[in-house]
């Protein structure tokens, strides 16, 4: 009977919970580390500034995320233990903290994720644009990076319960502007590609045919999604596919 009462002592239960939490936290951290490594995260984040910063302080992105999940569980264990042991009598306060911690955890996770995605997309975009040797182009990757970061911050702030309506409106205006610019800039491309799909599917003319589009005539050399290349003895025309629909096609028979 002595054992029974001893085990029901709040302090003992609290200690057990604490020990359990420590073990669980450690295990979850290890598991996370293994899982992330197996999922190829180290390769995916390689070369991003975040990873480099992490490396310079002797850790890595995977380790930070794994550590974070451990600390999260440690935190919960400690709080639960304190609650059970009734060391403090400020129930309301603790409940709010317990409520708040998971959200903070998610927010930090979102931030880390956002930083990595932002860096990564900057890398990808600049890699993609490397062939274009124009100084102004280097602005574009930065723009992509900060756009991603902005969205990340909004999500993180919303997660911990800060009002983000104004920021959201700003985001909406920004994306709206982007869409408008995109549509205006690529209108010709969109129409041409719609026509191109028809041309590729139906093949009203194919390579080797002699055709006339508007006042340009010659032998078809290439048909792709956006343009048709026709060529005669002296000239090579690159005709946008929308012109094919506007002017119609004349097939020349000898």
């Amino acid at each position: 009977m002595e054992w029974q009462t001893f085990l029901e002592e709040p302090a003992v239960i609290a200690a057990a919970v604490l020990a359990l939490g420590l073990v669980a936290g450690y295990l979850v951290g290890r598991l996370n580390n293994e899982l992330l490594t197996a999922a190829g995260v180290p390769d995916a984040v390689e070369g991003t500034p975040f990873e480099r910063t992490a490396q310079s302080i002797g850790t890595s992105t995977v380790e930070i995320v794994a550590r974070l999940s451990s600390w999260f569980i440690y935190g919960i264990a400690v709080l639960t233990a304190i609650h059970i042991a009734q060391l403090l009598d400020t129930d309301m306060f603790w409940f709010r903290v317990v409520d708040f911690i998971p959200q903070l955890f998610v927010a930090v996770l979102v931030l880390i994720l956002g930083f990595i995605i932002a860096d990564k997309s900057e890398l990808i975009v600049s890699e993609y644009l490397r062939g274009v040797k124009l100084p102004e182009v280097s602005l574009l990757p930065k723009l992509v990076k900060y756009s991603v970061l902005y969205v990340t911050f909004i999500i993180a702030l919303a997660q911990i319960g800060i009002h983000v309506l104004a920021l959201l409106i700003l985001l909406a205006i920004y994306t709206g502007g982007l869409v408008v610019v995109f549509v205006v800039a690529f209108k010709g491309f969109l129409i041409s590609s719609a026509a191109g799909i028809y041309l590729l599917l139906e093949q009203p003319y194919s390579i080797g045919d002699e055709i006339e589009i508007g006042d340009q005539s010659g032998i078809v050399q290439e048909v792709d999604l956006f343009v048709t290349k026709i060529e005669n003895d002296s000239k090579e025309y690159i005709v946008p596919n929308r012109k094919v629909f506007e002017d119609g096609i004349v097939r020349l028979r000898e």
């Binding site: 590729l200 093949q203 194919s206 390579i207 080797g208 045919d209 002699e210 010659g218 032998i219 078809v220 050399q221 290439e222 792709d224 290349k229 026709i230 060529e231």
Partner: protein
């Protein structure tokens, strides 16, 4: 042993430039740190991010071909000049650079092997894929038997007008491009068909089963090559296309441009 440096030193003393063939990153860094010397990297890919880079379309197995191509490419890109003395460092036996060869760049020995890729109508990548395809076909044959094949690449519109179908075109209304994963198998099966494959500038396979009818008058190709090679030579003179031929009899892959034989490779060597 200090005498050895003097003797071998002749190989690289007072050269105008160094050509590194597919160097590893650290190897290149060491050269880049050396002052007063032009370093030109040659390889199938620019792995080290070098300033001056000449792209090889194939990892030529023959060292002489490899160096010849590198030099012609560098001359064409004007990174070296006619008469420059070059130390060419390349790999022969090991997986890293183990050989230095001193070569004098000469614009007279122009074989056109670089022009074949860089200055043809068709995309260099497309020519490269077709060449690889022909080499692979030559290596394996069709079901173990040697096959012949003729690919006409580029200027497809004109080639189509200078040829006629032998039968229905299996590629009609298809959108198959060389380099697509399925193509190797497909072309292997189709290679038993007679006639030529016609491929457009961008790599679309326009037709198979084509009978080429250019005029073969005045075509001068080595004696002993058959009708397939004659047709290939003739079609490249009449149009701006290039032709890649896999010979059924001797198994070699040959490339023609402007009516002339430019490149000859043995598939077994790759």
């Amino acid at each position: 042993m200090d005498g050895l440096d003097d003797v071998f030193g002749d190989l690289f003393s007072s050269v105008d430039g160094v050509m590194l063939f597919s160097p590893s990153g650290s190897y290149y860094e060491r050269f880049a740190a050396v002052e007063d010397i032009d370093v030109i990297v040659v390889g199938t890919e620019d792995e080290v991010g070098a300033e001056t880079f000449v792209e090889l379309p194939l990892a030529f197995d023959d060292v002489a071909d490899r160096i010849k191509f590198g030099i012609e490419g560098a001359l064409e890109q004007e990174v070296i000049e006619d008469g420059d003395e070059l130390a060419c460092a390349t790999r022969v036996f090991a997986d890293e650079i183990d050989t230095i060869s001193r070569v004098r760049a000469s614009a007279d020995d122009h074989s056109g092997i670089y022009d074949l890729f860089a200055k043809s109508r068709a995309d260099p990548g497309v020519i490269k894929s077709v060449l690889e395809l022909a080499i692979e076909l030559g290596k394996k044959g069709q079901k173990g038997k040697p096959v012949g094949a003729l690919f006409v690449v580029g200027d497809a519109g004109k080639v189509m007008n200078k040829s006629r179908p032998l039968s229905y075109n299996p590629f009609e209304k298809s959108h198959v491009h060389v380099g697509d994963p399925i193509v190797n198998v497909m072309l292997k099966e189709f290679s038993r068909l007679d006639g030529a494959f016609i491929i457009s500038d961008a790599g679309k396979i326009v037709s198979a089963y084509r009978y080429l009818e250019p005029s073969a008058e005045g075509i001068d190709i080595p004696k002993g090559l058959g009708a397939r090679h004659m047709a290939a030579g003739a079609v490249t003179r009449d149009t701006n296309a290039i032709a890649i031929v896999l010979s059924e009899s001797d198994g070699l892959v040959r490339a023609f441009k402007g009516g002339e034989l430019i490149l000859e490779v043995d598939p077994e060597a790759y």
